[in-house]
């Protein structure tokens, strides 16, 4: 292979190449930016992400493989990468003033963020289990550090350690799963695994166990029950700006790999017969446990943590009919759209949480939100709309998203699963409404940080939830287009 051929691989994944180079440069440049002016690092990171975003959009139609088939560029990955880039920008917007006020502002923050986003993007591109694992680590390790960024605050340290230990544990399980799949098929490339399965020379038992272990590993990342234990503590302990990012980014990346591997590789009927009941069970458990435990939370970060678990459950629910041949497109596009809806809603909610957070982790109890609607109507309204969007009340984005998820489940014939899904939504209405009750129907004197970027994020996401909900057609079509160009 000539050098040019090798270099053309990088050109194939230009947005990612750019992002990683930019992140490495930023690491160096940051050394020369004085402590008091770390805002510049943030701006540079945002600039890098913006360029990445533009590159992604410009290269929307581009498809291909690179690095000997380890990487696959398709509209599916580009769609998710656009979501990730936007998440990154929103994450910087909510972190900018928050880090200053909590005295956490250090240049590494933004660099780590970029590396983590890079890892997530790599995850969406991965067409080889080895690369899935690599991306898995690349996105996780910066997140471990970020979770502990508020050192020496004990909760933050606890979050980092917990996240790291359980993360390492899940990586190990996943690697073991990959090894078993390799044992069964003598390859780690997704396309060759398919070939091996269809040739009939595979040890299906081994493959099934391997697939199950990969599911566990990714289940940790997306916080599916029973692999969710870390979530509330880490979400609560980590600096809120990190939590906001983690809640969206890690989920998007985890589901990217899950969807690609499942839809593409494990959709063989015999294998699906084993895997579908497992998915079914995990989805049901995740929806029930996430929503029911959320009922008992008084801390807004923990409440949103359990809520994010529950939403992973809804997405998993839509993945259940994945192996029905004519359903795959609908399954994937509904999940893609839901991830978008979840991203917008989630950032809206977390931005409001950040606006109310005080030093030393104060201002995070539900009671601290009392009277918010009177003094800060914009924040309260956005939070209320976010809660309604999480419940799935029209005309919000969350409603359209849930509508899509439930429609594939019903189309797939899983009526009981859909029934459990809507009933857990009903349960979730109770705790989401509690936030609204506190903000609108109780009196209090909330303390709020008025920061421009944060407010802009709040308004932008707030307006998006409603307008994109009403005029959702282009986005839905975009998500289905993304599926059509999927390998």
């Amino acid at each position: 292979m000539s050098v040019n051929d090798f270099l053309s691989n990088f050109n194939e994944i230009l947005p990612l190449t750019f992002l990683f180079s930019w992140a490495c440069l930023l690491l160096l440049v940051d050394l020369f930016i004085s402590e008091s002016k770390k805002g510049i690092t943030a701006l540079l990171a945002a600039a890098g992400l913006s360029v990445t975003l533009v590159l992604l959009i410009v290269n929307w139609d581009q498809t291909g493989t690179a690095f000997g088939g380890m990487i696959v560029v398709d509209t599916f990955s580009t769609y998710l990468n656009i979501l990730l880039a936007v998440s990154g920008l929103l994450a910087i917007a909510v972190a900018y003033d928050y880090l200053k006020r909590t005295e956490l502002e250090r240049g590494e923050y933004y660099t780590l963020l970029l590396f983590s986003i890079g890892g997530m993007m790599l995850m969406t591109l991965a067409a080889d289990l080895i690369l899935v694992f690599l991306a898995f680590e690349l996105l996780s390790i910066p997140l471990y550090v970020l979770a502990g960024f508020a050192v020496p605050r004990a909760e933050s340290e606890e979050a980092a350690i917990k996240y790291f230990l359980l993360g390492a544990f899940s990586s190990a399980i996943m690697v073991y799963g990959i090894a078993l799949v390799y044992g069964a098929t003598s390859t780690t490339a997704l396309s060759e695994i398919i070939a091996a399965i269809s040739s009939g020379s595979t040890n299906m038992g081994l493959l099934g166990i391997g697939a199950g272990m990969i599911l566990i590993g990714l289940g940790f990342k997306v916080a599916a029950v029973p692999f969710h234990m870390w979530t509330p503590d880490v979400y609560q302990g980590a600096p809120t700006s990190v939590t906001a990012f983690m809640a969206v980014g890690a989920k998007v990346a985890g589901f990217a790999a899950l969807v690609r591997i499942w839809i593409w590789t494990f959709s063989n009927q015999a294998l699906a017969d084993d895997l579908t009941p497992i998915l079914w069970g995990i989805a049901v458990l995740t929806m029930i446990v996430g929503n029911v435990i959320a009922l008992m939370q008084h801390n807004i970060k923990r409440l949103l943590a359990y809520s994010s678990i529950a939403h992973a459950g809804y997405i998993l629910m839509a993945l259940v009919p994945y192996a029905q041949g004519d359903m795959t497109d609908a399954v994937v596009s509904s999940i893609l759209f839901y991830l978008l809806a979840y991203m917008v809603t989630s950032f809206a909610a977390w931005a409001v949480v950040i606006a109310l957070e005080q030093k030393e982790g104060k201002g995070l109890e539900l009671d601290d939100y009392a009277g918010l609607s009177r003094k800060y109507p914009v924040l309260a309204l956005t939070m209320a709309v976010a809660m309604l969007s999480f419940i799935g009340i029209p005309p919000t984005l969350g409603f359209i998203g849930k509508f899509g998820l439930f429609s594939v489940v019903i189309d797939g014939g899983y009526i009981v699963l859909a029934l459990i899904g809507v009933l857990t939504s009903l349960v979730s209405a109770y705790y989401y409404l509690r936030v609204v009750v506190v903000m609108y129907m109780q009196e209090g004197e909330p303390i709020v940080q008025k920061e421009t970027l944060l407010y802009l994020t709040v308004i932008l996401t707030g307006v998006s939830m409603v307008l994109l909900g009403i005029f959702s057609e282009p986005l839905i079509n975009w998500a289905s287009q993304a599926v059509l160009g999927m390998f």
Partner: protein, 506 residues
């Protein structure tokens, strides 16, 4: 016709203009907010009158249809699809009439966060009107579910002492039914390939055994909203805690969304299931009639009394609908309007009294006739209309329903005249609790010092009541124009049900 300036689009979304204007006001600008909301809702009412003027009463099908693709995605298209026919025209008018009346009733009683109140109220109007006009199941669900949100805030923010409990209960109860309906809607959309209601009716291809399940899923949403016994327990809480204007709209319009849902969707989409399950719906209706009346009788809180009376009155509507004949359904539609007027007016009356005396305990009153003659006269007329006195509107509706149920019992879906017989008992019970209320409030000696100084109704309050009273007499004395409006559509529907379900009728 242009879809934006289409009369039905205008009547649905005109209140949005008021909402936008209100957003630029401050909560302190109370009277500006009140006038904005009032004028907006009056113009909306005027538009609905214009819709009525264009309405062709002889046409049994949907009219003034506006239909544009809203969400066009792989697999199916969701339409922005509005239309009006004899089943919905009166409910549309009822909604646009009661909204300005309700807004006018808040002039003194809502003094906190007036702007926010008005915003939610106008949003509520959009949702309600949309529910009655939507002809696409998805669009219908959007409006249906959306009405929950403003009502939840109206109860939760401006309600009484126990308002938060009542608001959350209202939301969760209603949503519990709605989500089941959502699954049924999704199933229909996926299996039938369309969400358009007229299309689905025209296809008439839903297998009978599935119809039962779909019927029940839709019925779950509607029965909770109506509310049918035994799913009514959210209603007294919501009514008692809601501010007066909220109660008026809740009783006047929101409950009608449930009965209208049965009428528009259950009967037409699942005719065979409707025939098969008519006995059950009628039975629950009759239980509701008697149960509601008996519980009303036991109340000392006037608002609770009126709230439970709704359970009883809507039992009549359900009985009329599931008589599945022209008389019954016509009576049921008219009774929806009647109940909206009478019960709305009763809640207004309770509100007037509460504003003056800050209690709703009937034992605290007595002899009010002497100090508040105008109020007494109006309230008594309304109460008499509610109990079905001949010459007033309630009689016409109930009489038709009873005739319909009797006819259906002899030769029709119900198969037994006992439904009509027990329902007639309900008419007597209604007289008992309402006369008791009249007696406790207005008759007897004026023996409480505080009641001697009560002032009679102001001009504004009289103005609120007069339109309702006019309609009460109009419908009571000369109901023909109203029947003409709904007749053709009902005939059409009844023929359709009988044609589609001819096999199941004994």
């Amino acid at each position: 016709m242009n879809s934006v300036f289409h009369p039905l689009t205008l009547v649905t979304f005109f209140p949005l203009l008021g909402v936008v204007i209100l957003l630029f006001l401050k909560n302190e600008q109370k009277s500006a907010a009140r006038w904005t909301a009032l004028i907006t809702s009056l113009i909306t009412f005027a538009i609905s009158i214009a819709v009525l003027a264009q309405f062709n009463a002889e046409d049994p099908y949907l009219q003034m249809v506006v239909k544009v693709p809203w969400i066009k995605v792989a697999g199916w298209t969701i339409y922005y699809y509005l239309g009006v026919d004899g089943l919905s025209i009166l409910l549309l008018l009822l909604t646009t009439l009661l909204t300005p009346i309700a807004i006018l009733s808040t002039w003194r009683s809502i003094d906190e966060r007036v702007r926010d109140f008005m915003i939610f109220f106008l949003l509520l109007e959009i949702g309600m009107v949309g529910v009655f006009l939507a002809q696409d199941l998805f669009l219908f669900y959007v409006f249906w579910e959306f009405t929950l949100v403003p009502m939840y805030f109206l109860i939760g923010v401006w309600g009484g002492a126990n308002r938060i409990y009542a608001a959350v209960k209202f939301f969760l109860y209603t949503m519990a039914g709605s989500v089941l309906m959502l699954l049924a809607i999704l199933w229909l959309g996926i299996e039938m390939g369309t969400f358009e209601v007229p299309e689905l009716i025209a296809m008439n291809s839903i297998p009978a055994d599935l119809q039962i399940w779909l019927f029940l899923a839709f019925a779950a949403a509607f029965a909770i909203k109506v509310p049918m016994w035994p799913l009514h327990s959210w209603l007294p809480d919501a009514h008692v805690e809601a501010p007066t204007a909220g109660s008026v709209i809740l009783a006047g319009v929101l409950l009608k969304m449930g009965t209208y849902g049965f009428l528009r969707f259950n009967l037409a989409l699942f005719p065979e299931a409707s025939v098969k399950l008519a006995w059950l719906m009628a039975l629950l209706g009759v239980i509701g009639i008697i149960y509601g009346a008996m519980v009303s009788y036991a109340q000392t809180d006037i608002k609770k009394l009126v709230a439970y009376s709704s359970v009883s009155h809507l039992g009549f509507v359900m009985l009329g609908l599931f008589a599945l004949n022209t008389l019954g359904i016509q009576g049921a539609i008219l009774q929806m309007v009647n109940h909206g007027l009478s019960t709305g007016a009763l809640f207004l009356a309770v509100g007037f009294l509460y504003e003056r005396r800050h209690t709703r305990d009937m034992d605290q009153f007595g002899g009010l006739w002497k100090v508040m003659p105008v109020f007494a006269a109006m309230t008594i007329v309304v109460a008499l209309s509610s109990m079905g006195l001949p010459g007033l509107n309630g009689f016409i509706g109930e009489f038709n329903i009873l005739l319909g149920a009797w006819g259906s019992g002899q030769e029709g879906a119900l198969g037994s005249v006992m439904y009509a017989a027990f329902a007639a008992l309900g008419v007597i019970l209604a007289a008992v609790y309402l006369l008791l209320m009249i007696q406790k409030l207005f008759l007897g000696p004026l023996n409480k010092e505080e009641n001697r100084v009560l002032k009679d109704l102001t001009l504004r309050e009289i103005l609120i009541m007069v339109p309702i009273l006019i309609l009460i007499f109009w419908i009571g004395l000369y109901p023909t124009p109203f029947f003409n409006l709904i007749g053709p559509s009902v005939d059409n529907l009844v023929q359709y049900i009988q044609g589609a379900a001819v096999a199941v009728i004994p």
